[in-house]
């Protein structure tokens, strides 16, 4: 059984096919990247997988469970969690509080327990806090825990995105342009972090424009162009694929 299996997924906006008839699968504990020019439908694919937008047709199976009809929060419960491109997340919270929000699903306080602030409520909050701290340590951000998120430098705002998603304890983590706008130092740090995440047993899917990062880290790469999957394979194969070169560099002028 495939870990994540996408079959014939399509979505169009008006006359534009954002994703047309995409089929691909991701194996457990690998790192895969989805690349392609702007507007190729990479983020749309993430949106369809995580229920942010509903597909016109096709299916998404995660560990054998059909997800294409599910709400985003239910998909998160199954262990499929994604990040968004934006920084400026939960701007008024501290870094620690923001990561604690990510652990919401593992907080088993009931409404009554919370209204009465009984032992369970306090214990659960304590646990959530400890878990969030562990994650911040894992990300190398523990010293920033009391900072208000909007005061973080850009690179760490991007890392915070990942930290919050990790707090959900995902099985499949989908990162939407985690290294966008980063300087080489910051993207090296992101690369290291993604490797470490994989080592903990999490499967990672990336949408990314930074080719050095993609080629360095991915076990397999999928290439989208105008909503269609035009190539898939190991980084070396992708680099040598004439279709991919054409998409990125343009067609050679015919003599």
């Amino acid at each position: 059984m495939d870990f994540l299996k996408i079959s014939n997924l399509s979505k169009s906006y008006g006359g534009v096919d954002a994703n047309s008839d995409i089929s691909l699968s991701i194996r457990e504990n690998e790192i895969v990247s989805i690349i392609g020019p702007n507007g190729a439908g990479k983020t749309t694919l993430f949106d369809l997988i995580t229920g942010v937008t509903r597909a016109d047709s096709g299916s998404v199976l995660f560990q054998g469970t059909e997800m294409s009809h599910m709400a985003t929060s239910e998909i998160a419960k199954l262990g499929v969690v994604r990040t968004f491109q934006q920084t400026k997340i939960f701007r008024d919270l501290t870094v620690l509080e923001a990561v604690m929000v990510g652990h919401h699903l593992h907080d088993h306080t009931s409404l009554w327990q919370s209204l009465l602030a009984n032992r369970t409520a306090r214990d659960q909050k304590q646990k959530k806090q400890e878990h969030a701290l562990e994650i911040l340590e894992f990300m190398g951000m523990a010293d920033k825990k009391d900072l208000v998120t909007q005061n973080l430098p850009y690179g760490e705002q991007k890392l915070l995105n990942v930290a919050i998603a990790l707090a959900v304890e995902p099985k499949l983590l989908l990162l939407d342009e985690p290294a966008a706008g980063m300087n080489p130092m910051e993207s090296m740090r992101m690369l290291g972090t993604i490797r470490k995440i994989q080592e903990t047993g999490i499967t990672v899917g990336l949408v990314e424009h930074n080719m050095r990062l993609v080629m360095n880290i991915s076990e397999r790469v999928f290439v989208l162009d105008y909503g269609e999957l035009i190539a898939e394979g190991e980084p070396e194969e992708i680099r040598a694929n004439p279709k991919v070169i054409e998409v990125y560099l343009g067609r050679q002028a015919s003599a």
Binding site: T50, V52, A71, T72, S73, I75, A76, K77, V81, R82, F84, I89, F90, R91, D92, L93, E97, M100, V101, G102, H104, L105, D107, T109, L111, Q113, S114, L115, L116, A117, A121, R122, Q124, K125, I164, A165, A167, V168
Partner: protein, 318 residues
């Protein structure tokens, strides 16, 4: 979070206040302030924590008041039964109204609640057989008497009623604080800040918003019940759109996104009409002006201003 000591002092002062200013007029204003605190703090859950503007809080207040009054007048229920039932009925109406209106957000949600506010007032006016319509409902009994150690406390008395209302207010404040401090408060804020991100973390935005709305409206019902048995006469005039806007003003002037904010706003806006009495109808102009100025210059309200000055003071010291 302010330290416990000043909080305790404020509570002690509030308990001593009606003994010091023991004229009926002052005691009346204090009771009104306590009821307004319950209303503003509960509305603050919606306005401050899920970030939506509800213009129907006065209607839920009215539902609580009429439920409690009618249960006692028509069915002869005691206050101890009528009070919780008014909480339940206001919360239940919150659930019914929340189902369609919480699908909306921003201006659309505000307009939906505005519509409900209008409907409730029209219903109270037109269900003459039940509510006596615009003539109002007289003869509502007071909460009755309580016997402790041979003492008989009559809640028809202003002083005793103040302490009853104050006790309810403290319970409400504690419940709201607890709700917002643990799992659900965090989820409310996450939903307010970015509902898409919240959903992708497994928070169910619509359920969260519904929970906040139902708790908020139920507590407005509690305030309504207290009000009905205090004034012993209720009419639709007390639960109009004007009242709803007045409550929103308390939350915004005091400072949304906190619990202290609505408390401060409620006390201020209860006292202000008495201070501004000389201005006659002009006082409404003054409210409007005040709201505008606060929204423009103090987006976080009075509490926000205090925090800001504190931080500035702290950074100067460093």
């Amino acid at each position: 979070m302010p330290k416990l000591a000043p909080k305790g002092l404020v509570i002690l002062a509030a308990l001593a206040l009606p003994l010091v200013f023991n004229e009926a007029f002052y005691q009346h204003i204090m009771i009104a302030a306590v009821i307004n605190i319950i209303l503003a703090v509960s509305l603050g859950i919606i306005v401050g924590y899920i970030g939506e503007l509800s213009l129907a809080h006065g209607a839920f207040y009215g539902i609580g008041a009429y439920t409690s009054a009618l249960l006692m007048v028509k069915l002869g229920l005691p206050f101890v039964a009528a009070f919780p039932l008014s909480v339940v009925s206001a919360g239940f109406m919150g659930l019914i109204i929340g189902i369609p209106s919480l699908r909306l957000s921003g201006h659309y949600f505000a307009i939906a609640t505005l519509g409900f506010q209008g409907i409730v007032v029209l219903l109270i006016i037109n269900l003459v057989d039940l509510t006596r319509g615009p003539m109002g409902l007289p003869g509502i009994p007071s909460p009755g008497t309580l016997e402790i150690f041979g003492w008989t406390i009559s809640f028809g008395d202003k002083l005793a009623f103040y302490y009853l209302a104050f006790a309810v207010m403290i319970v409400v404040l504690i419940l709201v604080r607890n709700l917002l401090r643990y799992k659900f408060g965090e989820a409310f804020i996450a939903t307010r800040e970015d509902s898409l991100l919240a959903a992708s973390l497994g928070v169910h935005p619509r359920n969260c918003r519904m929970l906040a709305f139902v708790v908020s409206t139920a507590l407005a019902g509690a305030a309504g019940s207290l009000y009905a048995h205090y004034t012993m006469f209720i009419s639709p005039d007390s639960f109009t759109l004007g009242e709803s806007i007045y409550l929103v003003t308390m939350v915004i002037v005091g400072g949304r996104g906190t619990i202290v904010g609505p408390v401060v706003g409620a006390v201020l806006l209860t006292a202000l009409p008495e201070v501004l009495r000389f201005a006659g109808d002009l006082q409404f102009v003054i409210y409007g002006l005040m709201l505008m100025l606060v929204v423009i210059f103090l987006p976080k309200g009075i509490v926000g201003l205090v925090e800001q000055t504190k931080q500035r003071g702290a950074s100067l010291e460093n």
